[in-house]
Amino acid sequence: MQDDQMTIVSNESVARNTYEMVLQSEHVSQTAIPGQFLHIAIPNFTLRRPLSIATINREKETVTIVYKVVGAGTKQLSTFREGVALNVMGPNGNGFDLEINEKTTVLLIGGGVGIPPLHFLGKQLSEKGVTVKSILGFQSQEDIFYENSFKTFGKTLIVTDDGSYGKKGLVTDVISEINDFDTYYTCGPLPMIQAVTKQLAHKEGYISLEERMGCGIGACYACVIPTTIGVDYRKICEDGPVFAAQEVKL
């Protein structure tokens, strides 16, 4: 983890209110693992914004994030053009465990802007030879991004809330269509993660969580979540954002 000035290589809309930003960073591009996030300082905002790493390019030394404009900070972020330098900390957090046997089949279940970390994961796992299947949920057709990229990893089902593309419904409605997988990884809105972990309680699974953050490195105790066993807690920024599905109380 370092804190550096990173120059924006590109910052473009990839879906409704959703942007893909590519940043120059030797350090992050060489060291990041899927599930880790960047902690981005935006001028004139007190707190940094945590955004998951969507992919890295070791040769070009870049790191990519995909973010949705939901408030003033992400709105400001969307206005920055190529060449602007931002203060960015990263890679933060633990990331997914990549010690996976290549004979394994994994299922990625992502919703909305929970999809970027799964994209990075899917890319690395499929490069390793792991069989990757994906279920991606969006509100509507206009919100879809990275569909083709996920398809290169393996079978990919898309669902939309309004049925404007793929099946109409929730990601949990189509899990049954993919019955042969060993491990699942999920990230997205909390109700989705709750539903997924409940439905797949018998499976080995990993979740990636969000919480409002202060420091982003474990020093302020802003982002804690209680553990399921014992009277204990985890810090999402430092011990997470990735947890085993049954490790923390959702």
Partner: protein, 303 residues
């Protein structure tokens, strides 16, 4: 004495910059970014008698030039801090200040007494001003009699100098300072956070799960400067100032107001290197405004 050094009760500081309590945990995370031995001192996260898990989340939110927090004194308990955190910080060879919290006078006393077990800290910061815990805590910070009472008890229980941390959520800050001074405080730290609230328009509920939180950051700097200025005119105790510090210029403003050293809180979240950067910049800023040392600037803003 060197340009940046300053001696306070129990604290021989090579520079006047230290991270504020609760914004730096016990230093481990920031030690990934720089060598903590550069710091003038370090103030640890609050210690209570037993482990505390704190408030539900969300615990923080952003405001204009500031933030609200309601962590709720989450900490592993004083015993564990003495056993595992103090030894970690000791390696950096800088004065360690222990922030002492509690819900009852007895708990404060116990925490203070437990810190006697180690010889490796330099002073206590008596946190009578945490607005984010339901029982006790804040009461001690707004009632001069209770503040004096807990100060007296902790002074008696501790072998260390005691700095009392004042809450800005009071009508008369001078009265509070005078009360704890009379009760034997060795110094003051100020200010803690202003109590505030933010509502989420979508959920129609306070953003912070605890409902209210403590406002910190540059937004509160004018209040901090005013209170330090007022208190330093009436009480002769040394003051460690805090509230919105981001730059070496801010530090000089606090010194002019009457602080002898400063703590940096929220700014660490924006820039993990903020403390060493300020330490690096401070000599130039002192010189630019005509001061040959930190010592010389203290209280020089008084009209």
């Amino acid at each position: 004495m060197s340009q940046l050094a300053i001696d306070l009760p129990g604290l021989s500081l090579k520079n006047p910059i230290m991270p504020a309590s609760g914004c730096f945990a016990f230093g481990r995370q920031y030690s990934q970014f720089y060598d903590l031995s550069k710091l003038g001192a370090v103030i640890m996260k609050a210690a209570t008698g037993e482990e505390r898990l704190g408030n539900p989340t969300p615990r923080v939110t952003e405001t204009a030039s500031g933030m609200l927090n309601a962590i709720g004194l989450q900490n592993p308990g004083v015993e564990k801090i003495v056993e595992t955190e103090v030894p970690f910080l000791k390696q950096f060879n800088i004065p360690i200040i222990a922030n002492v919290a509690g819900s009852t006078v007895e708990e404060y006393e116990k925490v203070a007494a437990t810190f006697n077990k180690t010889d490796d800290i330099a002073a206590l910061e008596l946190n009578i001003s945490c607005p984010n815990v339901k029982e006790g805590g804040v009461q001690f910070g707004i009632d001069p009699k209770m503040a004096a009472e807990v100060t007296k008890v902790v002074k008696a229980a501790s072998k260390y100098p005691v700095y009392v941390k004042l809450s800005p959520n009071v009508t008369n800050i001078v009265e509070m300072a005078e009360a704890v001074a009379a009760a034997g405080a060795d110094g003051l730290t100020m200010i803690n956070t202003l109590t505030g609230m933010q509502l989420n328009l979508t959920t129609k509920r306070p953003v912070i799960a605890n409902l209210t939180g403590g406002l910190s950051g540059p937004a509160i700097k004018p209040v901090a400067i005013r209170m330090i200025y007022e208190v330093s005119q009436h009480v002769s105790l040394p003051i460690i100032g805090m509230g919105g510090i981001q730059t070496a210029e801010d530090v000089l403003e606090f010194l002019l107001a009457g602080a002898s050293a400063v703590a940096v809180g929220t700014a660490n979240f924006q820039d993990p290197y903020v403390c060493p950067k300020i330490i690096y910049d401070l000599p130039n800023v002192l010189e630019k405004y005509g001061f040959s040392s930190v010592e010389e600037a203290i209280g020089k803003g008084h009209a």
